[in-house]
Symmetry: C2
Subunit: 417 residues, 2 copies
Amino acid sequence: MPAANTNQRIDAKRLWDLLMSMAEIGATPKGGVRRLTLSDVDRRGRDRFRVECEAAGLKVRVDAIGNMFARREGRDPKRLPVLFGSHLDSQPSGGKFDGALGVLAGLEVMRSLNDLGIVTEAPIELVNWTDEEGSRFGHSLMGSGVWSGVFSLDKAYSLKDVDGVTVESALSGIGYRGDQQAAAFAADAYFELHIEQGPILEQETKQIGIVTGAQAQVWYDARTVGQDSHAGTTPPSTRKDALVCAARVIDLVDRMMRARGEDGRGTVGQLLVLPNSRNVVPGEVRFSVEFRHPSDAEVDRLDREFRRAAPAIARDCGVELELETLFKIPAQPFDPACIDLVRQGAAKLGYSAREIVSGAGHDAVYVARHVPTAMIFTPCKDGLSHNEAESIQPEEAEAGCQVLFEAVLARANRSLA
Amino acid sequence: MPAANTNQRIDAKRLWDLLMSMAEIGATPKGGVRRLTLSDVDRRGRDRFRVECEAAGLKVRVDAIGNMFARREGRDPKRLPVLFGSHLDSQPSGGKFDGALGVLAGLEVMRSLNDLGIVTEAPIELVNWTDEEGSRFGHSLMGSGVWSGVFSLDKAYSLKDVDGVTVESALSGIGYRGDQQAAAFAADAYFELHIEQGPILEQETKQIGIVTGAQAQVWYDARTVGQDSHAGTTPPSTRKDALVCAARVIDLVDRMMRARGEDGRGTVGQLLVLPNSRNVVPGEVRFSVEFRHPSDAEVDRLDREFRRAAPAIARDCGVELELETLFKIPAQPFDPACIDLVRQGAAKLGYSAREIVSGAGHDAVYVARHVPTAMIFTPCKDGLSHNEAESIQPEEAEAGCQVLFEAVLARANRSLA
């Protein structure tokens, strides 16, 4: 088989046109996309994807959780397939590229291989994972999670949206409850191209992020409980202000993050005040806390420090603090050989690149539990994502797709000697 | 006329029974009261009040905003009436005593005067003000506000509840859109008995609060605007976290309050986070801020300090801060002669008492713009109010009612020489 060479280029215009065309399915007035998983809009996106795959000669199968696999046979039927892909569902007010870039660049890889008349040694499969975002049923990475055995198909089926519709009935309703078993199968590798969803590549004017793994994380539910009282009549000495306490914990989270330099993450993203009345000293506040860091040891330290310092703040405020650890997951390093194929691809094409740890969750993180995995990041404007203003340049999409092409081709043609 | 003497006692048991009986109208399972203004429950409370007033020989008239005046004639028809009362409406999850104590103790004063065969020199009038709480139509002190000319009847009529029902139609619906003009009329004095809604009297084991006036206040709407971004991918240096900024402003408000000792009040009671998602750095927070203090000069200083310090915090956070002053009202001192009658009443009866400034808003604050006014506070358990657990002891109600009796009687019988 011919090795990939720099004359083998993907069709950047065809890729961009497909991205823009897919973005019309669920387009929002502000230029974003609302393609909630298992909705009729999602069905239209999936149908379009299936039609394009079949037109490219791929054979599409769907598993019981709706994951779509579009297969291109290789020369050697005994070799394990090389997988690549991402997701077509979006946030409620999402952008055009989060997920869609990885799937549609994958389709462009398939089309380019066709155009170039290349038959890979191993079969290759393009994947559209179901419900990466979790916006509708409250559970992100659903399709890859079931596939990887992180949680059961029954559990996923029983999840409901705000209208009480289950995943099972929504899947059947759009015709994407497939006949294949929703479980990990043997595969040689998995590559996922995704926008960074952060500002690092843009700030450093790098074209490619060589993703070496995903951060370790610890997530909590926190609740401060003081005493509701009249804001006009309750003197300082008798106040038990749950919001003042929560505010000091929020400040703590930020300071703990900053003490780790640029690699630390610490966020309170969700907060609810009770009774939430102008002239009532708040009696209760419920809020989320999370820390992330590339190093497991550092997340352990953040966890210990937080569980010591936050209760001390609450004691000073005369307020009760309840902390529940929702989960603590170790860092997920990606496969060194797969990472190296991404690095080599970028280098060969002359793209500026840097290693980066994924701050976000991705289907690749679950897939990596079973299959050697790596990811490719491309910059996005202002690091903005989960937002209708999410934006990338055509040449950024092209660079990411070209590196994906190189990595997939090299892996599928690698020597097994 | 006979001067009041310590043998002239109100009937404490009758008062308590009436309080408990009124609390059954709108009783909640947790022992509180839900008697939302101009609701059918409010109508039942008003009807009961009217029946009891008429049974006590009082003549009831209702004005155009539903304020009820129950008049007992005096010996001298040329003298201006002495007013006293409070409100029968409650918070959505309110207690038995906030408002009801002042109205029903007023009725007990009327009944005791009847029992004792006392005819006062001046006429006296017991008032039930409409919609003190503001919970349903969003505008507290509505009845006394219209009566005092603080805002217009048309404005009050056009306010709507969450179901779109206007004050005007709600008033007509319960039959309490009266034929009297809703405007201040000449009166000799106004006394209002109320629970403290704060912990000071209880802590100092005082039976009576001699209320010398109401605090100065300044209220703001605040908004911090940063940038939504992904919590996992956005490094510390590029974050514009609107919630971290708001948290530091909340801490500032608390520290500014405490710097004033026990007389300061500073509260953030209401706060909304956007987009309020676990793994999104908050891009916007909207929150209320208020400061109160007995001294106008101190509220001026708090206002200046806050408008200087809060924006400085926002600049440090890289976040925009918008501050809108909703209102700034000066302290409302009560009438020295009326205050003195409360003081004398407590002293004569041997009740422990202290001067206190009202932290809460009361109908008395608006009435005081037209009529010499004072208030009487009684302790409430744990300073708790606007809460179903609001609680007082029968002897506390008795003491408050007895002082009200003394003050009203003394004022109505005062020499005009």
